[in-house]
Symmetry: D2
Subunit: 284 residues, 4 copies
Amino acid sequence: MEHPSIIFKIVCPDRPGLVSLLTSWISNYGGNIKHSDHHTDQDAGLFLSRIEWNSNNESLNRDEIYKEFEKIADAVNGQFNVNYSDEIPNVAIFVSKQNHCLIDLLWRVRNGELKMKVPLIISNHSHLENIANDFSAKFVHIDTFKTDKTVVEDQFLNLLKEYDIDLVVLAKYMQILSDSFLKKFSSIINIHHSFLPAFKGGQPYHRAWKRGVKLIGATAHYVTEDLDEGPIIEQCTVNVSHRDEVDDLIRKGRDIERIALARAVRLHLNHQVFVYNSKTAVFD
Amino acid sequence: MEHPSIIFKIVCPDRPGLVSLLTSWISNYGGNIKHSDHHTDQDAGLFLSRIEWNSNNESLNRDEIYKEFEKIADAVNGQFNVNYSDEIPNVAIFVSKQNHCLIDLLWRVRNGELKMKVPLIISNHSHLENIANDFSAKFVHIDTFKTDKTVVEDQFLNLLKEYDIDLVVLAKYMQILSDSFLKKFSSIINIHHSFLPAFKGGQPYHRAWKRGVKLIGATAHYVTEDLDEGPIIEQCTVNVSHRDEVDDLIRKGRDIERIALARAVRLHLNHQVFVYNSKTAVFD
Amino acid sequence: MEHPSIIFKIVCPDRPGLVSLLTSWISNYGGNIKHSDHHTDQDAGLFLSRIEWNSNNESLNRDEIYKEFEKIADAVNGQFNVNYSDEIPNVAIFVSKQNHCLIDLLWRVRNGELKMKVPLIISNHSHLENIANDFSAKFVHIDTFKTDKTVVEDQFLNLLKEYDIDLVVLAKYMQILSDSFLKKFSSIINIHHSFLPAFKGGQPYHRAWKRGVKLIGATAHYVTEDLDEGPIIEQCTVNVSHRDEVDDLIRKGRDIERIALARAVRLHLNHQVFVYNSKTAVFD
Amino acid sequence: MEHPSIIFKIVCPDRPGLVSLLTSWISNYGGNIKHSDHHTDQDAGLFLSRIEWNSNNESLNRDEIYKEFEKIADAVNGQFNVNYSDEIPNVAIFVSKQNHCLIDLLWRVRNGELKMKVPLIISNHSHLENIANDFSAKFVHIDTFKTDKTVVEDQFLNLLKEYDIDLVVLAKYMQILSDSFLKKFSSIINIHHSFLPAFKGGQPYHRAWKRGVKLIGATAHYVTEDLDEGPIIEQCTVNVSHRDEVDDLIRKGRDIERIALARAVRLHLNHQVFVYNSKTAVFD
């Protein structure tokens, strides 16, 4: 059986010799690089690297390998991650009433496209409970309208902790999370139903229809405190015409929302996304 | 030889019997409909119709046919146009320094894609004079920076009159026309280098790069007094990634700017665009 | 409540006066046209028309309206259909092992995008039985490998008759239907996992990968006796690169297969597709 | 002023330590890697690498650097190239009557998008001589119809030698080059007006129209002895409908032909294309 891949990511100030430095260690350890991609952001003076490799050498355990990369990262003043392809993260999905993104994500988990577990589904409505039950995920309905936001979000945080959640996906969750919440949990991907930065905020399809655009979009992005300003991971568009009513935009939009969100989640799970300077580099 | 096509367009309040009313007259006259397209905007309560037809019957001249359609339009409280496929309009192209849209439009005129004459090219720079000369178009360089805007725009209006201009195309003309000018001449198509309404205003590629979008766009639209708010005719997008610098966005953008503008001008020349409620219906 | 729409479609030899002829009857009956689209295929000498209208006038029942249109169609030597928006056809879905198209279609039925009933799901494997059960559709597993094809197809025909099926959708049904079957039941839409006519036949993704194409496609088409030669309704593509293995092509392909098939089925259900000369005109 | 970039490309059997081996040399020499991209084709057991770097160290001249990389390549049994960003190759463009690809390529050369010289334009028709003259390129009209193919191709080869041509671009050159010619000169990019492998051979737009496809394509590829089977570099598509006649397909096709060809030539000039096993890996 093949050994799990080790995925090493680093962002550091650019300078000569970085690729050599990183790959020499792996080579000396007997590692075999499967994919490696590097990018220099000239403007920011930053070097970004992702190296996916594996090895038969088991002389170091995962903690030890982590420490080795920590040393390298320290030496170049970098921020780094080490991940393994056999780590399956816990993902909580937040939804409201619409089911298309949730169903799509769960289908992709089932067929192996998305390597993640979904132990927890949270909603401000009860509509999608059956879907959660079918998937054997815990469904928690929290009435965000009747309850104080701080209380609600404390419940969220407790649940995320209880279920050991690594990533939250807002799959058409039509509520805004507070800055206070985001300070405590920040690994969150959202799908916005417009080609951002167009139509930030509410009712994007209605406003797109009114504006008479000839294409509509969907944007998957990390959530930050500035609403709809988070780093963009993926965008999709589809053509529309004067024959399309708002309902048609909503219908057509569902297809690109599902696809943009699924691609973004997959890229995140594969550790292919770097975030810096309020934007992303996506190594695909 | 085939008779020229007659293109009849009307917008009127919706009510039963409109298509029948319009087509009966054509049928009784012995006309043969080549294309006809109708749209009901339920929300606005409007009926839009474009009928392209021809006929061997020459008992009525063009003025008389116009008067016949005027009678029909009056009966249904509609706004209408009658055009003929052998009418070749005069188009003035406004440019600044960038040549890609100008060269592209003139190439399409030469190869017969765009049925228009270009007797006049106006610029606030002298860079593109040779291109105008090669095309045997009058090139007028007006220094918009040193001259009062009112004076400049009066010169524009005189030129448009002198050359009997039907349509102005802003092919990367990086200046704003005043409300006063637009009140006097309003048949103007512009190409904006973003997928509107995103990145309205200046430096859209720089801002798109800074925002980290994953696609950039180009929008061809009619010019109105609200800058970048005019009715959209055509939009194109192209993928970008973190590897693209601003210069790459500009380079990739040129290709979609040319195509979006050319398509919009062609649709306009073919009388396939309806404008109402600050947006368009494009019958393609 | 709004009256159901009446959708009238006709194909006939082109000649002057056809739109007028069709719409005058509707107008005289007090009908209001909601959408009408006409196309003249100059090459084939054919006129195609689709008129969607409704009326408060109930002096004629559906049979009588049918007869009226039959008279018109006879007068112009045309082939015609009359359908109503409140007719919900019975659709049988044929599948093998892959579930993505089936799940997607059933989801669209549930959310109202596809106005059809699915009383019957037929498969040459038993894998997808649960999905059928969840949807309360009859699931019939027929082992096409162990049984003579004629016998199998007779079972199919009996089932189609028993369930009063109007349309069959092959949602990744990896078997070929015989000419004899197609002569007896011909309203069938298939999804082929390539941009036809490229990669006709088996293993299109493997062959696309081997050929090194930079985009892959999916094609929804009506089934005819010439395999993969049926009239094309819809095609979608997605970019691929050298980094994509065959499995990635299969994964990316699933997304465009679902979308191409769903669009084609929707267009068919809305009576927006004309078939003639081995191709389609799609009035969208 | 910045030193020119050095672009090192290698293809070799995969084995551990390759990236380290390549980058260590560069690092030791004091080089700074600007872009590096590596790919392992698991199926073929091959490792592909492109490293773009520069250095202030001028202790080795270009010949010496070449020999250093030759040593590395020999050690890993690889095929390699070393190129410099200040090398501007000589490109000959072959055309027939259509001008759109030629005009587009020359425009991109002039505006700096394509870093190449075009000293020579060869045609089997005289139509495009003026374009060559305007660009100050030698235009050679060789009547391929009246002359024996061997004689014609010998003239081609002599011209390619005389003008020291590095790359030939077939910009809608509607003739087939013989195997014998290709054995003597093989660095050739062609634009085919279909999404290969669909519609190989002649009249692809006519056949696409007849088949009723819903999208048409253009494919830029290297030319090999098997017609239309060469490694694909870039493909573009555009939607078409039943309203499009063959002439519309040809018109729409011109836009994607220009773009696909220009992208492919740019990728080639930037040494971003690897060719192996009859396909390409494009590092973009």
